[in-house]
Subunit: 203 residues, 4 copies
DNA sequence: CATGAATGAGTATTCATTCAT
DNA sequence: CATGAATGAATACTCATTCAT
């Protein structure tokens, strides 16, 4: 990567980071491009060299942040040497919840914007540096622990949607209960969902 | 209700309905108050006699639409004379999914905006005409069928969040699969969640 | 016309007049909508209640100004009691040239923008107050003086185009000669053109 | 001309040609320097090595295109071995009209921009390669056919202005008639104008 | 010579809100 | 009660020009 390319990457990151801060603090609608470039220390026109408009920046930012989160969740499983498929799923759950508890901003941003379509992008997008081996690892882990699951994608989808939507309510709104109170039920629900998809007698 | 009150109600409904159409077709951000009043056949100033601003209208609209939906789901259970608690839950699920399949607009609007906080409003809000006996019926049904559940609210919360978020993906985006394909898994997952909250051996 | 309609007309005229001054002094491209409303003493948004954009204003202004000019040329013929068809044509020519000599602004504006399509609008546009009986008078005059002309419209077109384009060069640019020097040749050329279209032996 | 000079000429021509295409398709005002260099396959900065700005390019382009046109009209007269002064004038007229009929772009561009001032440049500008012997030939031809004309320049001016402005209306706008219909009248008018300037009894 | 990333002044346009009628 | 003309702050986006490479 040449000197110029490095400079460009630095600027793109400055735009990403400052946009994220503003989106999560002021809200997307109230954040202006002027705000973003001002905080990033760049000229207005420079913004348009990197992104088409505010929406383009947001879409790319969602993928960027979601990829980061899952990469780190995956790393956590490795760091903790968690054994067993269900334990790994719960470890991922807990890691994500923990991050969300610490970073409401991140939760707010991801929860409102992350759809399964975007999610798949996160794993498939090969020219993203942060491209995650998470999904591959997830499939590999089932194999390793000899778990039979005909629809692994649908199972993961169900689990992640449940985590995402309940997190938003319990952590941000503390409705109907706090996440601390909800967590045991969430764990049990997730394990039951795993059962649904891995029982032998699927019709 | 006097003549004048009826006229006012008519105008309010015109604003509600046209705002809903516009929000769901053009998106909330791109819908202007001018758009709404123009379609409703009213003058700009009139808008402010009914709502504080666009956000005020939206918030009231969410409650309005959600209350309608659950009232109708409840009615469906009664019309079909569905027996058994689980069957009633599944009937509600199917009714909601059916409506969402027919009215993507409604799904989009509710899914993006309905939080548990709003949801509770739907039941508690006494000055809403459509205020629903749904939640009361839900509790009553558990009693009738002698279901022991320590946290009925949390159970309903879990089920509804799962329905809401998966509907959005499967129906609107058809990701990762269509709702027709997903439905059996959703049913099983919901039944398992009911198990989680009604088993005797809750720790 | 109600009070409000009068107020609206006043504002429209303020926009017209100030836009004309600015277009002719700074040029169309360099005149901004801000300039126009500022000079007219109106708010920016008000502009858009009257015109779609700068181009819309310009197009309407051309018709407005051209109609004015021909109405006045026609009036001049009446005031001077000019007799004879050719004399009336020359009187019109001289009046227009005279106005252009005094108001380079007007010449510049009209010459660059007046096409025959617009010109016909000037006569036909019935909801313009200034709508001119000029063309009707022109036909009537030929009849009165028993002039036979198969293509009166094409004759007028030829004359007016010649006047317009030579005026621009001789008056504004003084190229290749000044209008004072050119005028006798222009008169002769016009008379010859009248001959072309009114000779008996047209093929 | 050295290798480098040839390369430069190639680039200049690329800028000329692409600018012409853009000016005539999108209009001058809406054409940006970025557009031009992009189509020409050059870098933005390169533009400024050849032209001061967009206006500079346009002015040079007008001369360039007008010179080309008159050179070709002149060549046509030679190729066809047209005899007689009036016939040569009409041949030039027909050639120009024909080109304009085939290339509306060219007509639009020349008609809106060509003033007599520019026109004279076309003949006088010695560092233009295409510089035309047209005007010299025009004078020479009158001499050859023993035509007495005190103001040859004014005569040519009158003719060319009439051609230019009527072409624009009849060819582009087809107003008030098409050029096919107008042409006989134009020919007659031009011949009459020649009469005006060549009659013995000029006052 | 040629490049193209970066700049930032400049402008059009929108739209919530008010208030005289 | 209802209207809709007027407002003007707020913002997105463009593009000519420069200059380090």
């Amino acid at each position: 990567m040449g000197k110029i390319d490095i400079k460009k990457k630095v600027k793109e990151n400055a735009l990403f980071q400052n946009a994220f801060d503003l989106f999560t603090n002021k809200g997307f609608a109230k954040t202006t491009i002027s705000d973003i470039v001002e905080r990033a220390g760049l000229a207005k026109g420079t913004f348009y060299l990197y992104f088409k408009d505010k929406y383009d920046l947001r879409d790319k930012l969602i993928v960027h942040k979601a990829a980061q989160l899952f990469t780190e969740a995956h790393q956590e499983i490795l760091d903790q040497s968690v054994e067993g498929f269900e334990n790994q799923i719960l470890c991922m759950t807990d890691y994500i919840i923990d991050r969300f508890k610490k970073e409401h901003n991140l939760l707010q941003f991801i929860a409102k914007n992350l759809s399964w379509g975007v999610f798949k992008n996160v794993f498939g997008n090969s020219n993203e540096k942060e491209s995650v081996p998470f999904y591959r690892y997830y499939l590999h882990s089932m194999e390793q622990y000899q778990i039979t699951c005909e629809k692994p994608e649908i199972m993961l989808f169900t689990i992640i949607e449940l985590i995402g939507s309940t997190c938003y309510n319990c952590i941000i709104l503390e409705q109907p209960v706090t996440m601390d109170e909800y967590l045991p039920y969430l764990h049990k629900s997730i394990l039951k969902i795993v059962e649904v998809f891995t029982e032998d007698n699927m019709t």
